[in-house]
């Protein structure tokens, strides 16, 4: 028996405003969401690829590390500006806060523009899910050869490569038409073997007389095979397809992860834009501190996600 009376009516709950608590809970769901994305990426990356058929390197898929690094820097800056916006509201400087939010919005847009440039590169090179050539054994190999032939014919007609590469293109096209080549040979002459060492750090190399190259199955050749200077090594801007083992899987993961991240960035930008509109109409002040804080929490989370995506996709 207990006496459960005379207790004062104490307020219940956490000393957190509802909005902030709900945002933290929402972030929990977001953490799980991105964990599932990143977790499955790790499995795809470490599961099926083997030493002889590795996961694509950034170079294989036209991904520039420095662009990712710049984007990281942009997001870090925007994280700082949003926290400074909140700080400005706390010290009572609403005007400064609006400026900071404006800068954040601008930085977010810069991030998206850079992202869009990267995407455009992927589209230009056909590095899209389900559209990358992986296997070169038949029938996929012959599809690949036909595809390269079409690309070469396009180059023949419209140009678009430098002179040195143009000659190589013409030779390759002639050889394909003559039916002299296997898909593997076509791939080798497009891709070349010179730059492979640079772009495959840490992989096992087989040293030959005049060059080194990594032993990939698509490019696996007898040890004394001569080095081939690929068309893409002569002109990196030539639009020619080559075989990328696990290129489709890479593209799938890349677009899924960065795509959902970009969507989240966009969502944040919408809120910042709303804040700016509010400020423009003169309805923005210290009373909006919680709105800024909650949005800031979200924005920092988006930043944290990128902090993990950058090394996972670009570096490691």
């Amino acid at each position: 028996m207990i006496h459960a009376n005379d207790e004062p009516a104490v307020p219940m709950g956490l000393p957190l405003p509802n909005g902030k608590l709900a945002m933290w809970l929402f972030l929990v769901t977001e953490i799980m969401f991105f964990t599932a994305l990143i977790g499955s990426y790790l499995i795809y990356r470490n599961g099926q690829p083997t030493a002889s058929q590795p996961w694509p390197t950034p170079h294989d898929v036209h991904l520039a590390e420095w662009i990712g690094a710049v984007n990281t820097f942009v997001l870090i800056c925007s994280s700082l500006t949003v926290v400074l916006a909140l700080w400005s509201l706390h010290v009572g400087n609403s005007k400064r806060a609006v400026q900071y939010i404006g800068v954040t919005l601008a930085l977010g847009c810069v991030f998206l523009v850079i992202k869009a440039y990267e995407y455009q590169q992927k589209f230009a090179h056909g590095i899209l899910p389900g559209r990358v050539f992986e296997k070169l054994d038949s029938p996929h190999g012959y599809k690949y050869m036909r595809h390269v032939q079409e690309q070469l014919e396009h180059i023949e007609k419209h140009g678009g490569v430098n002179d040195k590469a143009k000659k190589a293109c013409a030779e390759l096209l002639a050889d394909i038409r003559a039916g002299k080549l296997q898909p593997k040979d076509v791939n080798e002459r497009v891709r070349g073997t010179k730059s492979i060492k640079e772009t495959n750090p840490g992989k096992e190399f087989i040293t030959t007389k005049d060059s080194t190259y990594v032993d990939l199955p698509e490019r696996s050749r007898p040890k004394d095979a001569p080095m081939v200077e690929g068309i893409l090594e002569m002109d990196t801007h030539a639009h020619l397809s080559y075989s990328i083992p696990f290129g489709n899987m890479w593209a799938s993961c890349y677009f899924a992860m960065t795509g959902f991240h970009a969507l989240h960035v966009f969502g944040g930008l919408v809120v910042f834009a709303i804040m700016l509109v509010m400020a423009w109409r003169g309805r923005f002040g210290p009373q909006n501190a919680q709105m800024v804080e909650v949005t800031g929490l979200y924005w920092h989370f988006v930043d944290i996600v990128w902090i993990f995506l950058f090394p996972l996709l670009y570096l490691v």
Partner: protein, 604 residues
């Protein structure tokens, strides 16, 4: 620092909203709860019809079914296998995502949470409204899938790739070389479930925030009724697990539509057609799917457990035995629930060493369930049981959850699972947990809260008839499933005469089907009782007809917008039933300030 303020006494005045604002685009948690309730009942009917068609096909595999005969003229008047596969796939999808979950978290979560914690509404009423309206795209899409080219999905509710997700190469349409139904219908299914997921996620964030931050003064965590505890933990489960399913659904949609290969490995060949390069992992779908869907099993049972605890305690006129143990066991079920998903995958080609770990965790999860059952029995002990319809349903929950819980141990044991995996044993198990437990709990809750919801009682006599027949026929359908499973009958087959070991089971299947039809007809009694009582039921004359302690009974009936005429202040736990000197009633409402000894506080 503190954001809490002493409550102001005056409830704010509200202007009376229009009909549209009051019943359709309502932000009132009670109305939203009822919206969920009505749609769930409609989908219950749909799911039930699908189930009956499944049962009929199983019992008379070679018969021409009177009405369907016209649809299957090409097939000699017999149901096609694809149609049959569609039936059970959609039955499971509808029952899980559009009946049980909306019933429990949507209808009763919405109705009970603010009322039972003494809040005027949810923390975010508009978000709450959105969470209902996000169900509508899901409703439309899932119904539209029946009319999609090839029909509704037929890859099971688990939708395992590659059966579900292989399509022609990107840009060549959505036709599936694996099954006619896995094309367009599957996309509808995936989008529909994504909408359900978004809706549930909004709901769960809202519920958690409300329960943490909106409790009435004095309503400490350990004074919350079990219903609220169960809803709270369920919402946490949803918040953690749903995003993972969302990712899986999105991945599968992308696989189907734009040519990604997340779940499609290399070298797939269908007839003469060979798919493009893959690189994906089929098993990953199962991992992601079950990472959600196992906790989802608890999402589908924990709220029912909570409501049943309240009902049993109320009608046994006894404090809930081991209140804290009940909370800890719910939390234990939820916590363990996240590390047992692999038991759905013992035979799936998952690393068998993982299987061992999952087995131990799975078997141990029976422990909190056992504790709960014992505590319910302890609650009934020395009670004064009032056999209302609600109480009968709650008691049947206990009686039949025991069967569902015990049969789970068979599947949890890896070697035994080798034999009974994908047999009717698992079908029996899930129906014992979801029909005879969750749905019985839901029925009990409807009978229990109906007076508070609508200000009228449901008819007790017909309620009891409904209960008795449901109890008998449900056991008649679902219990023999264990026998079928033990005899090796596979699930998801339309015709069991194809193998030597299954064909002797036909007679038992026919008995079950007759029982199932009767079970379906019995629900018409419920439907009639429910609808007629809405308008003709006996009116409630008092706020607290069951003499219950929890807060919702101190609100006016039906509760107005804003719920309470007097903001409640809580002085005690929710289960103080029993003899109290100097008091003529045998219950002490949570809002009652009362001097003197009170019944043993539950669970100390």
């Amino acid at each position: 620092m503190s954001v809490g303020h002493p409550p102001t006494t005056a409830a704010p005045a509200h202007h009376e909203p229009s009909f549209l604002g009051k019943y359709i685009f309502s932000t009132d948690h009670k109305i939203i709860g009822m919206q969920f309730l009505f749609t769930s009942i409609i989908f219950l009917g749909l799911g039930g019809i699908l189930a009956l068609l499944v049962r009929i096909q199983l019992a008379w595999p070679h018969a021409e079914i009177p009405i369907l005969r016209e649809w299957f003229v090409d097939n000699g008047g017999r149901m096609t296998e694809s149609f049959y596969n569609m039936l059970f796939s959609m039955h499971a999808t509808v029952m899980i995502f559009f009946v049980i979950i909306p019933f429990l978290t949507g209808a009763f979560g919405n109705f009970t949470i603010p009322l039972m914690i003494g809040a005027p509404d949810m923390a975010f009423p508009k978000l709450n409204m959105m969470s209902y309206w996000f169900m509508w795209p899901a409703f439309v899409l899932i119904l539209a899938s029946f009319y999609a080219e090839g029909g509704a999905p037929a890859a099971g509710w688990t939708s395992y790739p590659t059966l579900s997700s292989i399509t022609m190469p990107a840009g060549e349409g959505l036709h599936s070389p694996a099954a006619p139904n896995s094309g367009h219908g599957q996309i509808f299914w995936l989008l529909s479930l994504t909408c359900v997921g978004i809706s549930s996620m909004m709901g769960s964030v809202n519920y958690i925030t409300t329960i943490i931050n909106m409790r009435a003064p004095g309503m400490t965590l350990y004074r919350m009724p079990m219903t609220i505890w169960a809803m709270f933990i369920t919402a946490i489960l949803q918040a953690f697990a749903l995003p993972v399913l969302t990712v899986a659904l999105i991945y599968q949609s992308l696989d189907k539509s734009i040519g990604t290969t997340f779940f499609l490995p290399d070298g797939l060949t269908f007839g003469n057609w060979s798919a493009g390069p893959g690189g994906g992992q089929t098993l990953l779908w199962q991992h992601l799917f079950w990472f959600y869907s196992h906790p989802a099993v608890y999402i589908m049972i924990l709220p029912a457990m909570g409501m049943v605890s309240d009902i049993i305690s109320t009608f046994a006129r006894r404090p809930l035995f081991g209140y804290r143990a009940m909370i800890y066991s719910i939390a234990g079920i939820a916590g363990l629930g996240f590390i047992v998903w692999g038991h759905h995958m013992f035979q799936s080609g998952m690393d068998p060493r993982l299987g061992t770990g999952f087995m131990i965790a799975t078997i141990m999860i029976a422990l909190p369930s056992a504790v709960k059952v014992f505590n319910w029995l302890g609650t009934v002990y020395r009670g004064d049981i009032q056999f209302t319809t609600a109480m009968l349903f709650a008691l049947s929950f206990v009686a039949l959850f025991i069967i569902g819980g015990l049969s789970g141990i068979f599947m949890a044991a890896t070697p035994v699972d080798i034999y009974i995996h994908d047999t009717y044993f698992i079908v029996g198990h899930i129906h014992y947990v979801l029909f005879t437990s969750s749905l019985m709990g839901i029925f009990g809750a409807i009978y229990y809260w109906f007076p508070k919801m609508f200000g009228r009682f449901m008819n007790e006599f017909w309620g009891k008839v409904h209960f008795a027949l449901t109890f008998v026929f449900a056991n008649g359908v679902f219990f023999p499933m264990h026998i079928l499973g033990t005899a090796g009958m596979r699930r998801r087959i339309p015709d069991l005469t194809a193998t030597a070991f299954e064909s002797p089971l036909l007679t038992l299947n026919q008995v079950m089907t007759i029982s199932a039809i009767l079970l379906g007809l019995t629900q018409l009694i419920f439907l009639a009782n429910f609808l007629l009582s809405l308008f003709l039921g006996k009116q409630t004359t008092e706020r607290n007809p069951w003499h219950s302690n929890t807060l919702e009974w101190s609100a006016p009936t039906p509760p107005p917008h804003g719920n309470f005429d007097v903001p409640p202040v809580v002085y005690r736990g929710p289960y103080e039933y029993g003899a109290v000197p100097n008091r003529t009633e045998d219950y002490l409402p949570q809002t009652l300030k009362f001097d003197g000894p009170v019944p043993a506080a539950s669970g100390h």
